[in-house]
């Protein structure tokens, strides 16, 4: 069984490369600096939330409340920026708010043995209500605005065709690359990363090896709050806007993030590739709208593509102990 999975996974990677290459070639007509930078910007919140989701779930705690983290940090980012006039202070505050929410989630799951899925939904509901509520209380409207990030342009490199977009972007885009690389490194090269893995696959193994599963899971969940918080604060602060109607400006990105890390098989790089696939299709979709297909149908392209890719690539394997509560000393 396990062998099957690992083979499947290896085959999965291969298929992935082929699929990406095909998608890439067929869309190459659309690749230019504009679409690349648009794709990267659309990727930021999804990628960060996905990285957060990876840490939490790999450690065995399914964090379905990523959406909530995005919402709360998006709002607090704007609010704190507006209060202080400094985007970076706003940014950090947004991240802190999301981390705080993650801390509540962690306590509820790890101390009070809450069902992770229910608690995650609760986190989402709370944030979905709280952010627009606070906005209304503070600004009299569910929408709020503030200063925004200025792009950082690296002279010379930014003029390169296509890839120039990588060197002409707002700080969150650069942060995203750092975070993807960093997450991969932490998960695959450090002792902590190994503990995260063990904690999600076989917590008893980790526990009996003398590492506190509880502590590893706390850190992982808090990390997921930090990362998703960066995503949410980046989302709102890139625009200097928070809009809190309906599903708020986050509008399902937290759930797309879950899709994306599953598709990327819990690998930060895979998740990032899936994110760019999805975001890239969103960008291209806008361009295709002007064709003869009705735009309502064109808008389904990103979603259908993900389904097709998944059907071809096949299985994603959830960590064995994800979603289970673990109490040290349990048999």
């Amino acid at each position: 069984m396990r062998e099957l999975v690992s083979i499947g996974r290896r085959r999965g990677t291969l298929v992935w490369i082929v699929v990406l290459a095909l998608v890439g070639v067929s869309l190459s007509g659309f690749v230019n600096k504009g679409t690349v930078s648009s794709t990267l910007r659309l990727s930021v919140p999804i990628a960060f939330a996905a990285l957060g989701g990876i840490f939490a779930e790999k450690s065995g705690v399914i964090n379905i409340g990523l959406e909530g983290h995005l919402i709360i940090s998006a709002f607090v980012g704007i609010y704190a920026t507006d209060l202080t006039g400094n985007v970076w202070i706003g940014f950090v505050s947004g991240v802190l708010a999301s981390t705080l929410l993650a801390a509540v989630f962690a306590v509820v799951c790890l101390e009070f043995r809450a069902d992770q899925i229910i608690a995650g939904l609760a986190v989402w509901f709370v944030a979905l209500g709280l952010a627009p509520f606070l906005s209304t209380v503070i600004y009299g409207s569910v929408n709020a605005d503030s200063a925004s990030f200025a792009p950082i342009t690296i002279p010379g490199l930014s003029k390169l065709p296509g890839v120039g977009a990588l060197f002409d972007a707002a700080p969150p885009v650069y942060l995203m690359f750092l975070a993807v690389g960093g997450s991969w490194y932490v998960l695959n090269r450090t002792a902590f990363g190994r503990w995260v893995h063990a904690s999600g696959e076989n917590p008893q193994a980790l526990d009996t090896a003398g590492v506190s599963v509880r502590r590893v899971r706390y850190v992982s969940v808090l990390l997921s709050g930090v990362l998703a918080g960066i995503g949410g604060a980046s989302l709102s602060l890139s625009l200097g806007e928070f809009s809190g109607n309906g599903q708020t400006m986050v509008d399902g990105r937290g759930f797309i993030a879950i899709v994306v890390y599953l598709l990327g098989n819990y690998n930060p790089i895979g998740a990032f590739l899936s994110t760019t696939l999805f975001a890239g299709l969103q960008t291209v979709q806008i361009q295709l709208q002007s064709g003869y297909l009705p735009s309502s149908l064109v808008q389904t392209i990103p979603y259908l593509t993900v389904i097709v890719v998944l059907a071809v690539v096949g299985r994603t394997r959830t960590p064995d102990a994800a979603g289970d509560h673990y109490e040290s000393g349990e048999e």
Binding site: V108, D115, I118, G129, P132, T136, I138
Partner: protein
């Protein structure tokens, strides 16, 4: 001597623990405690935010401090408002005044009650949809999409069929079951897609169902706006269904868009699903696959088919919910279907994925939805707080261990406060 005591205590604790593991009573106790705690935390939140805003007159004064929002009013509006204000203000048993408990002129068939119950009706169905899938080990996040598919199909189907059917009671007798059936079939087929993808292509249903939700919404938009658009309407919608194609209301004013008949059907399905899971071979197979697919295979369960079956059934329930929405609430199909499917997830989870539990969890959300409207129209508090409250209720229900801990502390420790040091 302490030996006897501690043994007695041990026994008491064992009894408590055992009953704690089994009982539905405990679930109800915990849910109630969660509700109370959510209300308390919510009240604090209301007071705090009431200090953050400015208003000209205090809505309430506690401990000599004025607050812009009054939690008592808010919760009164939320819970009693959703029932159409049944309580007689003169009925104050604690003060020893026993006026008739119900307000004069209050009828259980009022408009607020109608909203509460019609939301409940749809939520029972979506809650059952999600619960059935979860019990079978399938994470169907796609009830929303299946509901949209069912809603759209039943509306279009009825529009096509209605002219072929005689009017009057006969028409209704023919059209209503047909419309509900079309909704269920369409939802079922739409649910079968992720089922087949999961069973035969190993595609994670969480991903496919989330994606299919978006696809359903977009496809409905395409179909209605390009082929079935109601002329002269400013929104994307079909022409209204003929009268015979909507579910006839019972007792309630037809304009209140609620039918007791529909509620009865939904509750009936709660019983049917309970029976299915508990007493039938199919239900046993579904539960077995849900808990342990390898064990199910061993027991002769055709796991792939079971996956497809569970998603199809789950989708059918969602589709039925969609048909109810169209045939009872809207009277036609409009894009922008409310998130009944997602709320269904919450309902199911709160109910512990138990079909009978769904029948209790759904009304809670019906009340919250309906009461939020009353809060919005009758207090100055921003109604988003109701979402926060909903989140808090869910959060507290999610942590039974917290209440068990409290329960243990208060019940089990008390009889023998000084014997506690013996056990860990």
């Amino acid at each position: 001597m302490s030996d006897v005591l501690s043994r007695a205590k041990e026994r008491l604790r064992a009894v408590l623990e055992r009953s704690a593991r089994l009982s539905a009573v405990e679930r109800i106790l915990i849910s109630t405690a969660a509700l109370v705690l959510a209300v308390l935390v919510g009240a604090v939140l209301i007071l705090v935010s009431g200090r953050m805003t400015t208003c000209t007159t205090a809505a309430a004064t506690y401990f000599g401090v004025g607050f812009c929002y009054d939690p008592v009013t808010v919760f009164d509006r939320l819970f009693f408002g959703a029932l159409g204000d049944p309580m007689n203000p003169l009925f104050r048993p604690f003060q020893g005044e026993f006026a008739p408990p119900f307000r004069k002129g209050w009828s259980p068939f009022n408009a607020a009650m109608a909203v509460t119950l019609r939301e409940t009706t749809v939520l029972v169905l979506t809650g059952l949809s999600v619960a059935l899938a979860f019990r079978s080990g399938v994470f169907n996040i796609g009830t929303q999409g299946q509901l949209v598919a069912g809603a759209l199909a039943s509306a279009l189907g009825l529009l096509v069929l209605a002219p072929l059917v005689p009017g009057g009671v006969m028409g209704t007798v023919l059209l209503v079951p047909t419309g509900l059936g079309i909704g269920a079939v369409a939802g079922g087929l739409y649910g079968a897609i992720p089922g087949v993808l999961k069973a035969y292509a190993d595609a994670n249903e969480v991903i496919t169902t989330i994606m299919l939700n978006f696809v359903a919404a977009q496809f409905a938009l395409y179909l209605v706006s390009n082929h079935f658009q109601r002329p002269d309407s400013q929104v994307v919608e079909t022409v209204p269904l003929p009268d015979g194609a909507t579910i006839p209301s019972v007792v309630f004013d037809p304009r209140m868009k609620f039918s007791l008949f529909a509620l009865a059907i939904a509750i009936g399905f709660g019983g049917v699903i309970y029976y299915l899971l508990r007493y039938t071979t199919l239900g046993y197979d579904l539960r077995t696959s849900g808990l342990q697919p390898t064990g199910a295979e061993y027991g002769g369960v055709k796991t792939k088919r079971t996956i497809v079956a569970s998603l199809t059934l789950s989708g059918a329930l969602g589709g039925l919910g969609g048909a109810m929405y169209v045939m009872m609430i809207l009277g036609n199909f409009q894009t922008g279907v409310p998130s009944y499917g997602f709320d269904g997830i919450t309902v199911a989870i709160l109910a512990g994925n138990n079909p009978l539990g769904v029948l209790f969890a759904a009304p809670l959300f019906g009340i919250i939805k309906s009461g939020a409207i009353v809060i919005d129209t009758s207090t100055s508090m921003p109604p988003q707080l109701v979402d926060v409250l909903r989140g808090l209720i869910v959060l507290f229900v999610a942590m039974p261990e917290f209440f068990r801990m409290i329960g243990r502390r208060t019940i089990a420790e008390k009889p023998n406060p000084d014997g506690g040091e013996e056990d860990a």
